[in-house]
């Protein structure tokens, strides 16, 4: 197990290195001189040269990359062009808001989705199964930003059950502010996970070992919850791990609609002001988040499935 974890961690680092390098080169390849854009058309050549040197843009590209990685290893993501504050500080100030939103979304949608899917699979082709199927498919079909706008109109503006904007102060207030955005992001995941768990469960329930468990008189509850669900859950863990990427992009919508602070709002604001160091820092942290979550999914799978530990 430890061996597997070490290997998986090494792979994550490699993925992160490739992704960050690619991103660094892509940003440099974007046409237009960032210095000219930042300083405006009336800047003097001296001023331009000064900023170019300050940003390190006068160096050859490989040297820039080395400096970037050197700084990165010291936890330095650069400096905000406008405020002069450290990008690391700004990004990590916003990160918790996005993290809590993503975790809240995945927590409620996975819980409900797995329960719904497992129940439907245990009672296939009954009325409840059909209703669950119809509900799941309509959930999947609902885009996060539409759900976000509707939820905002209905529950915040009309019914005034939940706050409409911001992230709140203190535990309960923050939780209260999380309800609508997490609902909007998680809804399609409920349907998606329910469908996935149902299909996966039905497959596992048809396998010989489930028949064996039943032939030994093991209680049906235990057969479904332990013998079948533990195997059926494996693809769901992987899907959630990879789905972090989609969740991050849904979080951008939700943060804009609900005017919440967070990485999504930060990256949109920085792109409009061409604040490249912040864009770079945000994307880097998001990439790391994605890499970590897929690695975590693999680790959880290895914990749940002994075959996965030796397969690599």
């Amino acid at each position: 197990m430890l061996n597997f974890a070490t290997r998986r961690f090494g792979l994550s680092l490699l993925i992160l290195f490739v992704a960050v390098t690619a991103m660094f080169l892509m940003i440099r390849a974007v046409p237009g001189d960032p210095v000219q854009i930042m300083l405006g058309p009336r800047a003097t050549p001296e001023l331009q040269a000064q900023l170019t040197a300050a940003l390190g843009l006068d160096q050859p590209i490989w040297k820039q990359l080395l400096i970037f990685y050197g700084n990165l290893l010291q936890g330095d993501l650069g400096t905000d062009v406008f405020s002069g504050r450290s990008v690391t500080e700004i990004v990590f100030q916003q990160l918790p808001f996005t993290l809590e939103l993503i975790f809240a979304s995945i927590l409620w949608s996975a819980t409900l989705g797995i329960a719904l899917g497992a129940y439907a699979a245990a009672h296939p082709n009954t009325l409840i199964d059909r209703i669950a199927a119809a509900v799941s498919v309509s959930f999947v079909a609902a885009p996060a930003f539409v759900v976000a706008l509707l939820a905002l109109l209905i529950f915040a503006v009309h019914l005034q059950w939940f706050p409409a904007i911001g992230a709140g102060e203190g535990f309960w207030d923050r939780l209260d502010h999380l309800v609508l955005p997490a609902f909007a992001i998680g809804l399609s995941w409920v349907g998606y996970i329910a469908r996935l768990v149902r299909a996966s469960m039905l497959e596992v329930m048809g396998e010989s070992h489930v028949r064996t468990a039943r032939a030994f008189g093991i209680a049906e509850r235990r057969v479904v919850m332990v013998y079948a669900l533990r195997i059926a859950i494996l693809p769901v863990v992987t899907v959630i791990g990879v789905g972090m990427g989609f969740l991050l992009s849904s979080a951008v919508f939700a943060e804009i609609v609900f005017a919440r602070p967070g990485l999504g709002k930060l990256v949109i604001d920085s792109i409009t002001t061409r604040n490249y160091p912040i864009v770079m820092g945000t994307v880097l942290v998001s990439t790391a988040l994605f890499v970590v979550s897929t690695a975590l999914a693999d680790l959880i799978n290895a914990l749940l499935d002994p075959r996965a530990r030796t397969a690599h």
């Binding site: 396998e207 070992h209 028949r211 064996t212 039943r214 032939a215 008189g217 002994p306």
Partner: protein
Amino acid sequence: MTETLLEIDHLSVDYETGRGDLKALRDITFDVNKGEIVGIVGESGCGKSTLISSILRLTAPNTRFREGEIRFKGQDLLQASERHMRDLRGADMSIVFQDPMQTHNPVLTIGQQMLDIQHRSKQSKADKLAHAAKMLGAVGIPDPEARLKQYPHEFSGGMRQRIAIAMALMSEPDLLIADEPTTALDATLEVQIIERLQELQREFHCAILFISHHLGVIAELCDRVVVMYAGAVVESGDVREIFHDPKHPYTRRLIECDPGHIKERARVLPTIPGEVPDLANLPEGCIFRDRCDQAMSRCATEVPPLDQLKEGHHAACWLNHEEVTT
């Protein structure tokens, strides 16, 4: 005095399908006595699996019990409550399935699974594990305590089947159903498993219902044999009787086709020409008629009854009726 343990009494089972009822089992009758080994032999699709799942009542949802009874210790299982069936499964009757590679849960240790199947026992966990280790030792798994901590994929196919046998015998059942337990294994392992099964049967005195299409194994292991064809019993009786003096053409052909019985080097291996009839659209008369080289006009119209020819030997063929043979 032999005591009857399991009685299959005129059992008929259908599957409801889109193209009508599939008559999977028709008028099946045979007994299994206490401590006796009864073999069931027949080609794929002859209803062996339906029969087993009917006895355990672990049938697919589209199964319909049309007629007859399955009596276990005198009680009709088809009328028993689901609760009662669950009390029997893995306690009074247990089963070893065909494919050892698929029969255990892949994400639970063997020890956990052997603990789980002792769910009725009031013993402590440590005692249950000790019992599990003892059973693994009894089926010839070396170092059983350590191996309880391992997962199914860490065992070979032969070992997994031995574990399955250990699990099935753990509750000292009165009836052990073995559904082609050696089909998925190679020949040397097959011999080992059969010998182990024989030893354990002598030790535990359980009755065994042994399903196989391997006639050699049946002849080696069983006291009596039931020959099934297309969902019906065509012949049953003492294993020596059946092999030396088969009274149904299907049994005769089956014995001829068994590779163990072929003495001379043949260019073409013997087969039974033709196909099993469509169980949703059964032909009139004898079900084996189309493939039988001794078929008579009577076979086309009347179903031959399973008649007793002598003590303990039944066959369903018109050839055995005096008015025809004389």
